[in-house]
C-alpha cells in the first residue's frame, strides 16, 4: 500500500508523465498533416494507448500512452500528492492553489469530453429552425404521420438485420458507407446497373469514399437497405444524406439545365423527394440525415451580413441577426450573433460558424445563409476558474521567490 501511495505521489511520475505528454502532443501535431485533425485527435489524444504513428508522411512503429491515459494518471498523481502533501502554510499556498487549478482544468476537460455536444444550425435568411443538427452523427429516420423512429447511423452495419418494434418490417443493411459521393446517372449512357431500381438510385449512383480529414468538411453517409416483411420484400433502397442537401439539389438542377428547365426540375425534385414505402396501408417516409436535437424555442434568421475590408476579400465581419421565439416564456426578441459574440440561450451557446452572404452570394444569386455552431458544454466555466487559480497561485509563489531574491540582493 505504501509503495502504491509512493508511486502515485512521486515527483518522478509527474516528470515522466509530463515528458510523455510533450512527446505525444508533438507527434499528434505532426500527424495532423497526414491524418487530419479529427483523425489525429482520435488516434493520439482521445485514446488510451497509441500504437504506431505517422511522422512527416512516414509510418513509424511506436507504443505510447494516449491522451486519456496520461491525463488520468496526471490527475491521480496530482490529487494523490495534493492529499498526501497538503499543508496549510502561506509558503505553500501558491503552489497548492496552482496545482488545484490544474486539477480543475483536467476534470473540466474530462467532463467536456464526456458531456459536451456539438451541433449546427443551418438556415437561409427568413427561415426558422427549432432544431439543431449534429455535425458528426447521423440517423436513419422513419416518419409515419407524426410518429418518428430514429436509428443511429452507427448501428447500421452492412450484413446486419434489424427489427424495431415501432416498425412493421425488418431492415436488412446491404451496404453502409460512412462517407460517400454521388454521380448523376446520365440517361442513355449508363455503363453499370444502378444500385437498386427504387427511388433516388434510379437517377443517381452512390459510391464509397474515404473519410474526410479537414476540420471544415464533413462525411456524407449512405446506406443501402432492404425492407423485409413476412409477406415478402419491399425492395432495396438507398438512403443517403446527399438526398436532402439543398446546394446539391440546386447543382443538379443547373447540371441538367440543357435537357430543359422542366426536366431539370424534375430530376432535382427526385433527389429531394421523400422516399416512401407502403406497409399494410401504413406509409413510412425514410431519410438518412444528421441527428437532431429539438429545442423548445425557435430561431429565425433575419439577416446575414458578411463585410470585407474596402478593396480586398479580407473578411471584416460575419453577423447573423436572429429572432428568438419562445412560446414557453413568451419571449420574442431579436439578437445579433457575430464572431466572438455568441448567444448563450436555453443551455446552448450559438456561435457564428459559416456564412454565405455579401457580394459572393449576391453575384451567384443565392439567398444569404448562415450556419451557427450550437454547443452544449456544462463544463464551460471550468477553464475560467482553473486559469484564474493557476495564475494567482503561480503569482503568489513567484512573488515569494522574487521578494526573497530581491531582499537578498539588496543585503549584498
Amino acid at each position: 500500500m505504501k509503495k502504491i501511495v509512493e508511486f502515485f505521489t512521486s515527483l518522478k511520475l509527474t516528470v515522466v508523465l509530463l515528458a510523455f505528454a510533450i512527446v505525444l502532443v508533438f507527434i499528434g501535431t505532426i500527424a495532423q498533416a497526414d491524418e487530419g485533425l479529427y483523425g489525429a485527435q482520435a488516434h493520439y489524444f482521445k485514446q488510451w494507448l497509441v500504437v504506431g504513428a505517422n511522422f512527416f508522411g512516414h509510418k513509424i512503429p511506436l507504443l505510447l500512452p494516449g491522451g486519456y491515459l496520461i491525463g488520468t494518471l496526471l490527475l491521480v498523481n496530482l490529487v494523490a500528492s495534493h492529499i498526501y502533501r497538503f499543508e496549510l502554510s502561506t509558503k505553500k499556498l501558491g503552489i497548492q492553489l496552482a496545482h488545484a487549478g490544474v486539477i480543475v482544468l483536467l476534470v473540466g476537460q474530462l467532463s467536456t469530453d464526456l458531456l459536451s455536444r456539438e451541433l449546427q444550425m443551418h438556415f437561409n435568411e427568413g427561415e426558422t429552425r427549432n432544431y439543431s443538427d449534429s455535425a458528426t452523427d447521423y440517423e436513419l429516420i422513419f416518419l409515419n404521420g407524426n410518429e418518428v423512429t430514429a436509428i443511429p447511423e452507427k448501428l447500421l452495419r452492412a450484413g446486419d438485420q434489424m427489427k424495431i418494434e415501432s416498425l412493421p418490417f425488418t431492415i436488412s443493411v446491404k451496404q453502409h458507407w460512412h462517407n460517400s459521393d454521388l454521380n448523376f446517372r446520365a440517361p442513355m449512357m449508363q455503363n453499370a446497373p444502378p444500385l437498386t431500381t427504387n427511388g433516388i438510385a434510379v437517377n443517381f449512383d452512390f459510391l464509397k469514399v474515404d473519410n474526410v480529414k479537414a476540420m471544415d468538411q464533413r462525411n456524407v453517409p449512405t446506406v443501402v437497405v432492404e425492407f423485409l416483411t413476412p409477406s415478402g420484400s419491399l425492395g432495396t433502397w438507398v438512403a443517403s444524406d446527399w438526398a436532402g442537401d439543398a446546394t446539391l439539389v440546386v447543382a443538379v438542377r443547373n447540371g441538367y439545365a440543357q435537357m430543359g428547365a422542366a426536366m431539370a426540375q424534375k430530376i432535382a425534385t427526385q433527389l429531394a423527394a421523400p422516399q416512401t414505402i407502403d406497409v399494410g396501408g401504413k406509409k413510412f417516409t425514410f431519410t438518412l440525415r444528421p441527428a437532431r436535437v429539438i429545442h423548445p424555442f425557435s430561431l429565425t434568421l433575419l439577416k446575414a451580413t458578411h463585410t470585407t475590408y474596402p478593396g480586398t476579400d479580407i473578411p471584416k465581419d460575419f453577423r447573423s441577426r436572429v429572432r428568438i421565439d419562445n412560446a414557453q416564456t413568451g419571449e420574442k426578441r431579436e439578437v445579433e450573433i457575430s464572431m466572438n459574440h455568441p448567444l448563450r440561450y436555453g443551455g446552448y451557446t450559438y456561435y457564428q460558424y459559416q456564412m454565405d452572404a455579401g457580394q459572393v452570394a449576391e453575384q451567384a444569386g443565392r439567398t444569404p445563409s448562415s450556419v451557427l455552431s450550437v454547443v452544449r458544454n456544462p463544463g464551460w466555466l471550468t477553464p475560467y476558474i482553473g486559469c484564474a487559480m493557476v495564475g494567482i497561485g503561480l503569482v503568489i509563489q513567484f512573488m515569494f521567490h522574487l521578494v526573497g531574491f530581491v531582499s537578498k540582493t539588496k543585503k549584498k
Binding site: 515527483l11 516528470v15 509530463l18 510533450i22 502532443v25 478593396g311 471584416k316 466572438n340 456561435y351 521567490h401
Partner: protein, 628 residues
C-alpha cells in the same frame, strides 16, 4: 582624468547615438519634384488607409528587398551610385514608365533563372550587377518565363525546387510591378492627360454607340471600337486590383483609378473626378519633366483632401513619419553596438564598458518602445497582431527582462541577453517585413482587441521569457566551455537567473495558453481543439513545468537546468515558427520558405550546444580552473 572618463563616457556614448538617431529623423528635402509630399498622399490598400510612402516602401521591399532603389547597382559604394527614395520610384512606376522601366528594380537571386532569361552576369561595363534587372531587360525573354511559370504554378508549393520557388517569387514580383504600372494610368499610355481628355470628350458619343449596338440598331463603328478599347483598358486596370488611390467623392467610397474611369460613362454624362484630373496632370508633368507643374497638381490634390479627408491625411502623415523614423532598424543597430561592448566587458571586466553597454541598451529600448507604441496607435491595436509584430514584441519583452536582470546582477550578463535577443528578434522582424504590409487588417475572428491584448500578449511574453532563459543558458555554456570567466559565483547566479526566468515563463505561457482556449471557447464553442499552434503553446507550458519539477525533485542540478533551458529555445522556436510550416490548422499564417531553413539551422545549433553541455567537466575551461 581616468575617473572622469569612466564616469562620463557611458552617458556621452548614449548621447552620440541619440544624436545619430535624431539626425536620421530629418525628412530629406526635395530638390525639384515634391516626392516626399507625394508620399504623404493617403490611399486605401490592403483594406486600410496608407500613405503612398508605405505603398512604395512595401512594394519595393517585395520587388527588391530594400526600401530604397539603387539605380546604378553595378557601381561600388565608393563610386557614388545614384540611390533614390521609394516614393520617387513609385511616382515613376505609376506615371512615368518610360524612365522607370529602365531602372534595375527587380531582384533575381537564382542563377538558373538569370541564365534562363538570358540576363547579363555581373559586369560593370554592361551596367549589370548580376542581381538587379529592369523591366525592359526582362521583356525579350518574358515568353520563356511565362511558359516556365505556368508549369510551376501547377505544382504544389511544398514540392517546388529552389529554382521553381525563384520562378514563383518572380511571378509575384512581376504581378506587383504590373499592378503599380496600371494604378494611375494605362501603362502603355504615351501622353495620359491628352488621352484622358480624348476619352472624356468621346464619352457621350461612345455611350450612345454602345447602347445602339446593344439594342441592335445602327451605330458608328469607329466610335464604338475606340470607346470599347478605352473601356477594356480601364477594366484591365481595375482587374489588376492596385491600391484604391482616388479619395471618396460624394456617395462614392475609395476607388481604383480603373473603376473611377469606368464610373464616368456610367454616371450618364461627363463626370470625371477632380482627383483623376489631378493625377493625370501629375503624370503629364512628370513625363515632361516639369517639376513646377507636378507640384502644383499635387497641391490641387492635397487641397481636395484637406477639405474632404482630413483624418486620412493626418493618418498618412503620421505613418510617413513612422516609416522615416525606422525605429526598429535603428534600435537594432544600437543593440549590436551595445552587445559588443557588453561582451568585451566580460573579458577585461571593465565596468565602464558594461555601463556604456547598459546606457546604449536603454537608448535602444526607448527607441524600440517608441516604435512599438507608435505602431499600436497607428493600427489602433494591441502590440501583437501578426508574426512580424510578435518578433518585435518578443524582442521588447526580452530586452526589458535583460535590463532588469542587469539591474540586479550588474555583471554584464543581462546586458548581453538584452542586446543579443533584441538584435536577433529585430533581424527576424526585418526579414518578415519582406512579405509585404506589416499592418494588414485583422480577419473577422481576430478582430477583438480584448483577446489580442490578453491572450496574445501573455503568450508572447511567455515566448520572450523562455528565450531569455535559453539565452542565459547559452551564455553559461559558452563562458564555461571556452573561457575561464565562469567562476562559481557567476555560474550560480546564472543558474538562479535561469530558474527565476523559467518560473516567469511558466506563469505567462500557462496563462496565455489557457486564455487562448477561453478565446476559442468564446468564438467557436470549444476550449481546446488540438490545433497545431495551441499544441505548440501547450508544449512550452509542459516543458517549463517539466523543468521546474525536475529541479524541485533534485533530478537536475545546475548544468541539467542549463541544458533544459536551451531545449526551451527549440520548443519555443517550434511553436513560434515551426507549427506554421505544417500548413494546417487555424493559425497557419505567415509561412516563409527561407524561415524553414533558418529554423532547422537554429534547432541543430541548439542541440549542438546541449551536446556541449553534456561533455564532462574536465573539458570545460572554467571548471578546470576551479578544480585546479
Amino acid at each position: 582624468m581616468k575617473k572622469i572618463f569612466q564616469k562620463r563616457f557611458p552617458p556621452f556614448l548614449m548621447f552620440v547615438m541619440a544624436l545619430w538617431f535624431f539626425a536620421k529623423l530629418q525628412t530629406p528635402k526635395d530638390k525639384d519634384f515634391a516626392f516626399t509630399e507625394f508620399g504623404q498622399l493617403p490611399v486605401t490598400a490592403n483594406g486600410r488607409i496608407v500613405p503612398l510612402d508605405s505603398v512604395a516602401r512595401n512594394s519595393l521591399l517585395e520587388i527588391r528587398e530594400k526600401q530604397t532603389l539603387n539605380t546604378e547597382p553595378w557601381k561600388a559604394w565608393n563610386e557614388n551610385p545614384k540611390i533614390i527614395s521609394a516614393t520617387e520610384w513609385l511616382a515613376n512606376m505609376m506615371m512615368n514608365p518610360a524612365v522607370c522601366d529602365d531602372w534595375p528594380a527587380i531582384r533575381i537571386d537564382n542563377p538558373d533563372l538569370v541564365s534562363l532569361l538570358k540576363l547579363p552576369d555581373k559586369d560593370a561595363a554592361k551596367k549589370s550587377d548580376g542581381k538587379h534587372y529592369s523591366w525592359n531587360q526582362l521583356q525579350p525573354s518574358l515568353a520563356t518565363f511565362d511558359k516556365e511559370n505556368e508549369r510551376v504554378q501547377k505544382k504544389e508549393a511544398a514540392s517546388r525546387t529552389a529554382y521553381e520557388n525563384a520562378i514563383a517569387k518572380m511571378h509575384q514580383r512581376l504581378s506587383l510591378y504590373t499592378q503599380l504600372r496600371n494604378a494611375v494610368q494605362p501603362a502603355d499610355a504615351q501622353d495620359w492627360p491628352a488621352e484622358l481628355a480624348a476619352f472624356e470628350q468621346m464619352i457621350p458619343a461612345g455611350v450612345a454607340a454602345a447602347q445602339a449596338q446593344q439594342a441592335g440598331k445602327e451605330y458608328d463603328k469607329t466610335v464604338f471600337t475606340t470607346f470599347i478599347g478605352y473601356v477594356q483598358q480601364f477594366q484591365f486596370m481595375a482587374n489588376l486590383e492596385p491600391p484604391l488611390i482616388l479619395p471618396p467623392n460624394g456617395a462614392r467610397e475609395w476607388r481604383r483609378m480603373g473603376d473611377a474611369l469606368l464610373d464616368a460613362p456610367r454616371a450618364n454624362g461627363v463626370d470625371i473626378d477632380d482627383g483623376v484630373r489631378a493625377y493625370a496632370k501629375m503624370a503629364g508633368a512628370l513625363a515632361a519633366n516639369q517639376p513646377e507643374e507636378f507640384n502644383s497638381a499635387l497641391r490641387d490634390l492635397r487641397s481636395l483632401l484637406v477639405a474632404s479627408q482630413p483624418k486620412a491625411l493626418a493618418k498618412a502623415r503620421a505613418e510617413v513619419f513612422f516609416n522615416q523614423m525606422e525605429p526598429f532598424y535603428n534600435a537594432m543597430v544600437i543593440y549590436v553596438l551595445a552587445g559588443l561592448l557588453a561582451c568585451f566587458s566580460w573579458f577585461n571586466l571593465s565596468s565602464t564598458l558594461r555601463r556604456a553597454s547598459v546606457w546604449l541598451i536603454a537608448l535602444a529600448f526607448v527607441i524600440h518602445t517608441i516604435g512599438l507604441v507608435y505602431r499600436m496607435v497607428l493600427e489602433g491595436r494591441p502590440p501583437v497582431t501578426n508574426l512580424y509584430s510578435s518578433a518585435i514584441f518578443i524582442g521588447w519583452g526580452a530586452v526589458l527582462l535583460g535590463l532588469i536582470l542587469e539591474k540586479f546582477h550588474k555583471n554584464g550578463i543581462g546586458a548581453v541577453v538584452a542586446s543579443g535577443i533584441g538584435f536577433i528578434t529585430l533581424i527576424i522582424a526585418h526579414h518578415l517585413a519582406l512579405e509585404g504590409d506589416t499592418m494588414e487588417m485583422m480577419r473577422a475572428v481576430l478582430d477583438t482587441n480584448f483577446w489580442l491584448a490578453t491572450h496574445v500578449v501573455a503568450v508572447t511574453v511567455g515566448y520572450a521569457s523562455t528565450f531569455v532563459a535559453g539565452f542565459l543558458a547559452l551564455i553559461y555554456i559558452m563562458r564555461g566551455m571556452f573561457t575561464k570567466t565562469l567562476d562559481e559565483a557567476t555560474g550560480k547566479s546564472l543558474a538562479r537567473m535561469i530558474y527565476g526566468i523559467v518560473c516567469f515563463a511558466t506563469l505567462f505561457s500557462f496563462v496565455g495558453t489557457v486564455l487562448g482556449g477561453i478565446w476559442a471557447d468564446q468564438s467557436w464553442g470549444r476550449f481546446w481543439g488540438w490545433d497545431p499552434k495551441e499544441n505548440g503553446a501547450l508544449i512550452i507550458v509542459l516543458w517549463n513545468a517539466l523543468i521546474l519539477h525536475l529541479r524541485w525533485g533534485g533530478l537536475i542540478r545546475e548544468r541539467g537546468l542549463v541544458n533544459c533551458a536551451i531545449f526551451g529555445n527549440v520548443v519555443t522556436a517550434w511553436s513560434w515558427f515551426g507549427v506554421n510550416m505544417l500548413g494546417i490548422g487555424l493559425h497557419s499564417y505567415g509561412f516563409t520558405e527561407a524561415a524553414f531553413k533558418w529554423l532547422v539551422l537554429f534547432v541543430v545549433s541548439q542541440l549542438g550546444f546541449i551536446a556541449l553541455g553534456l561533455l564532462p567537466a574536465k573539458l570545460w575551461k572554467s571548471f578546470k580552473v576551479r578544480m585546479a
